[in-house]
């Protein structure tokens, strides 16, 4: 685990809102020189705290009007079937995230689709045919909000 200070936290908070800001512009905000800011960002990246960037796209304008979260329970368990399931589910383009969880489901998937009919196609043809799929619960996303997290 990396040791971080208040300035690191402020930089992370700023970059999590807008990663395109230059080291110079960020430095001016927090009273740091451009090279000092750059060194801090480099350190945070090398320590694996900043793992990359996410493009913020308006999904609806691109024709993806529906996001559904699926809770999936596997019908058969065992190491082999977990690997097979993970490989197959990750290969579905409409599946954006796959999380292995403990609780009433084994996996949590985020699925994007053009509309409900398109979602039904993905669910029937791609998800329900995956190896080992048992119970599936679907919840349609209405709104989502990302919070800055404990950086204060």
């Amino acid at each position: 685990m990396m040791d971080t200070d208040d300035i690191d936290h402020q930089l992370l908070r700023a970059l999590a809102l807008d990663a395109s800001q230059s080291a110079g512009a960020l430095g001016r905000k927090f009273g740091l020189s451009q090279p000092a800011t750059w060194r801090r960002i480099k350190r945070l990246t090398e320590a694996g705290v900043i793992v990359g960037r996410r493009l913020d796209l308006d999904r609806e304008k691109l024709g993806f009007g529906v996001t559904v979260f699926l809770g999936i329970k596997l019908a058969t368990k065992g190491r082999v079937s977990l690997d097979d399931f993970e490989r197959a589910v990750s290969a579905i383009p409409e599946v954006q995230t796959v999380e292995h969880v403990l609780g009433m489901y084994d996996y949590r998937l985020r699925v994007t689709a053009r509309d409900i009919a398109d979602f039904e196609r993905v669910l029937r043809r791609r998800v329900m045919t995956l190896p080992g799929v048992g119970d599936v619960e679907a919840n349609v996303l209405l709104s989502e909000e990302r919070r800055p997290g404990p950086l204060g």
Binding site: M1, A47, V51, L55, E99, E145, G149
Partner: protein, 151 residues
Amino acid sequence: MLDDLDRRILRHLQSDPAQSIPDLGDRLGVSTSRVTRRLDKLRDNGVLRGQQAVINWRALGYAVEVSLRVTLDKTQSRAFDEFIAAARDIPEVLEIQTFLGRVDVRLSVIARDMAHYQQIYRAGILTLPHIADIEALMHVARIKSDEGLPL
């Protein structure tokens, strides 16, 4: 509307948002100025809203991640608004999502360890208003997380 080049630009940018515009142009076989014009148009149309750094909370010492699926007491007309407003005040809440389905709201919560999680759960989560039921899913591993759109 978007054409084929717009989609190719977004697809490439999605896979590597940090790449420079000249590199992007080279990869697509299109001039830098043409890529710049397209990106400006995508921004003006509101399709491309920006880019955000992705933080790995584990590297900051937050080893526990829990997905809390909350059912609210819908006899209270302000249940959603009041619950969400109060959830925003818990710093360890990373995501607030609302749903149509069996689950009303989902909170993504991080903690340093299980003792810390228990403290957040008791002092923060359980004091949120209008909760009818909570189910917890403990996060084990992230298998895929690109969140890219199949453009």
